[in-house]
């Protein structure tokens, strides 16, 4: 009997102790024990993503042929002569095309990328990436036949990263200036191809390579090359004949290089170089004793990625757009007693107004033309026209039946050429300056892919590309 009681007491005690242990365990148990905190560094990202190889810029040269041809027109740099992507040629454009599309004059193969052409005095200049020999190659072709005339190149490792080449050469009578995907500046003689000077912006200035490589197209203003860097210096001015550094702009805010290009304009009578950096917008003096000095800056508009370039109105304003959710904005430059001030006066999301992801909108008269990005809500991927005073409400859109991608568009007289991602070319006629009527469309390349490189036009010939091919087509009457 006692044994039974004892046994039952032991049993009860054992149960109580067991419950007590379970209760203490329950109290001490942290339900978050299994959670793993997401902290920086868990992706094993190395401290530096930079490549350490040394590049001998412009090391090699080869001439294939010489020609004695020229052209009356010129498209010598990104967005043409006047940086507006509007051709002033007087040749009439055909309003309809034959069944097979506009005649193809020549076609060449290129390395994968989006680098557009520049045209000057009978030659086409392209900064290509030669995937076989792994080299940035400034390739010069006959405008008339597409025959390669000469190339200057240097070995540099570029890995496929949404394309390899991106930047457009800037050509004058004397020099051709290129900026390679990994920040290598090369200046060559326009005719002979002789290497004049070079710079490595990462090695010399500590530039940080932008995402998906460099797309900046260098500016030549008179005899000065204006190059945005974003490393030790925000920008530099370089004598194009000698390579001598003429001025350097400090970079106190450690802003970084974007895909945007430096454009020159005038605010309140002062010549200014405007750059959309990763970090903010800056205006740099382009003349006088203070050349190269920062006149104004603002970080009120600071997207993660900036691919487009600034558009200037006649009202001392800059209109900026970009993708990745940033939308568009208007910055006004004011003259103050001590200098200048930049104020962000308008900012909107891509759903609420004019925006663009890759291509810079075209300002024609008082109207802005753009292709809204994928995150623009109902207007996504539509060609749209806005009055410059109202960036919110479009005056015309191409409609939901006519959506486009990230490809380029340019204006010639009252015609707009627009290239879709798959290389389908569209011809619009601008009516009343603010609406457009589709006249013709034709797919240029079979299985065209990523036709994003800017187009160039002179003398009735349009040069365009997809990711691996470039053609010259005749679009004149």
């Amino acid at each position: 009997m006692i044994d039974k009681i004892l046994n039952s007491k032991v049993l009860i005690i054992a149960i109580v102790v067991g419950f007590a242990i379970a209760f203490i365990w329950y109290l001490l148990k942290q339900p978050t024990n299994d959670l793993v905190a997401s902290l920086p560094g868990m992706d094993n990202r190395p401290k530096s993503l930079g490549e350490n190889d040394s590049v001998i810029i412009g090391e090699f040269f080869e001439r294939f042929n010489e020609i004695d041809e020229t052209t009356s027109g010129s498209w010598p740099r990104f967005r043409g002569n006047e940086f507006d992507n509007i051709s002033k040629d007087t040749i009439s454009i055909a309003e309809n095309w034959p069944v097979g599309g506009p005649p193809i004059i020549w076609q060449i193969d290129l390395g994968e990328g989006h680098a557009g052409p520049a045209i000057h005095k009978g030659k086409v200049y392209v900064l290509d990436y030669d995937e076989e020999i792994r080299a940035d190659a400034l390739r010069v072709f006959s405008f008339k036949t597409g025959e390669e005339l000469w190339r200057r190149w240097y070995e540099v490792l570029i890995k496929r990263n949404h394309g390899m080449s991106r930047s457009i050469p800037t050509v004058t009578d004397d020099v051709v200036l290129t900026l390679g995907p990994r920040c290598h500046i090369m200046c060559s003689n326009t005719e002979t191809g002789e290497l004049l000077w070079s710079m490595d912006l990462i090695r010399d200035y500590g530039a940080e390579l932008p995402q998906w490589y460099t797309a900046q197209c260098p500016l030549i203003d008179d005899d000065i090359a204006v190059i945005a860097i974003g490393g030790k210096n925000l920008a530099v001015g370089v004598n194009i004949s000698t390579g001598e550094i003429v001025w350097e702009t400090p970079n106190p805010d450690n802003w970084k290089m974007s895909h945007s290009s430096v454009f020159a304009t005038t605010f309140h009578g002062k010549k200014t170089y405007v750059y959309l950096a990763v970090g903010g917008i800056v205006g740099i003096s382009g003349e006088g004793d203070d050349i190269g000095k920062i006149l104004w800056k603002t970080s009120a508009w600071d997207p993660t990625v900036v691919a487009t370039s600034p558009v200037f109105t006649n009202n001392n304003e800059i209109i900026v757009t970009t993708g990745y959710g940033a939308g568009g904005a208007r910055v006004k430059i004011f003259k103050t007693e001590t200098g200048f001030e930049a104020i962000l006066v308008e900012k909107h999301s891509p759903k609420n107004g004019l925006s663009s992801e890759q291509q810079t909108p075209i300002l024609a008269g008082e109207f802005l033309w753009t292709i809204n990005p994928k995150d623009a809500g109902a207007l996504r991927n539509q060609l749209a026209c806005y009055h410059v005073s109202d960036l919110i409400n479009p005056v015309w859109t191409s409609g939901k039946e006519n959506r486009y991608g990230l490809g380029p568009y340019l204006l010639i007289d009252d015609k707009m050429f627009l290239l879709n991602d798959d290389s389908e070319l569209f011809l619009y006629k601008i009516t009343n300056n603010k609406s457009a009527m589709l006249l013709a469309q034709h797919k240029i390349f079979e299985k065209g892919v990523d036709a994003w490189g800017p187009m160039a036009y002179i003398d009735g010939y349009l040069i365009l590309r997809d990711s691996r091919r470039m053609v010259s087509i005749y679009v004149g009457l």
Binding site: L39, M42, R45, K159, N161, A326
Partner: protein
């Protein structure tokens, strides 16, 4: 006369053949109809090209957590450092800090491969099917992230509660033999 060699006149023979000629197609038609109406042979699946990433897959599935998961078409991915499916819009840094991530449950693992490539893999146990990463990838990337109903988790309701509310009508019944609308060659595990 044995049964085997029983006399059969031509009229009976034609009658018999006629009966079989009518009965066999009717029986086959019945079999086909049963096959087509059988819930076991069809499953619910998302058409990734119709999906608008509205977020209802996360909240409307009868399963907790949702049977809808993110999938990754590696053949389409750009392996970008700045991945718009992984990082929130407007971030200035690119690392694995929780405050930078778009995914509310940290279900995407990011790992460095070689300069400049990063790989992104989905932890399906953590994924709740909200589609935020898919939306980010579609807006600025290659659309390599997309949503699919995982059949080892789906209870295959007769009337799928997500399909009822899907604004894009992107969820439809598909044959079990083609249970996934894949964007690349990924083969899901047998359920």
């Amino acid at each position: 006369m044995s049964e085997k060699n029983k006399y059969q006149n031509r009229r009976d023979f034609v009658k018999k053949v006629g009966k079989w000629a009518v009965a066999l197609p009717i029986a086959y038609l019945g079999y086909e109809l049963i096959q087509k109406t059988s819930a076991q042979e069809f499953v619910w699946q998302i058409d990734p090209y119709k999906c608008t990433q509205c977020g209802q897959c996360e909240t409307n599935c009868v399963q907790t957590v949702s049977a809808v998961k993110c999938m990754h078409a590696y053949e389409m991915c750009g392996y970008c450092d700045l991945c718009s499916g992984y990082l929130r819009q407007g971030v200035k840094e690119r690392n694995t800090g929780a405050e930078l991530q778009l995914c509310p449950t940290s279900a995407i693992n990011r790992s460095f491969i070689e300069n400049p490539y990063f790989a992104y893999t989905i932890d399906e146990e953590l994924c709740n099917g909200c589609g935020k990463c898919v939306k980010g990838c579609a807006a600025f990337g290659n659309s390599s992230l997309y949503l699919q109903i995982k059949h080892e988790l789906c209870v295959n309701c007769n009337l799928c509660s997500i399909a009822q509310t899907c604004p894009a009508e992107a969820i439809q019944r598909v044959p079990n033999s083609k249970a996934y609308n894949l964007k690349d060659g990924y083969k899901p595990k047998e359920s």
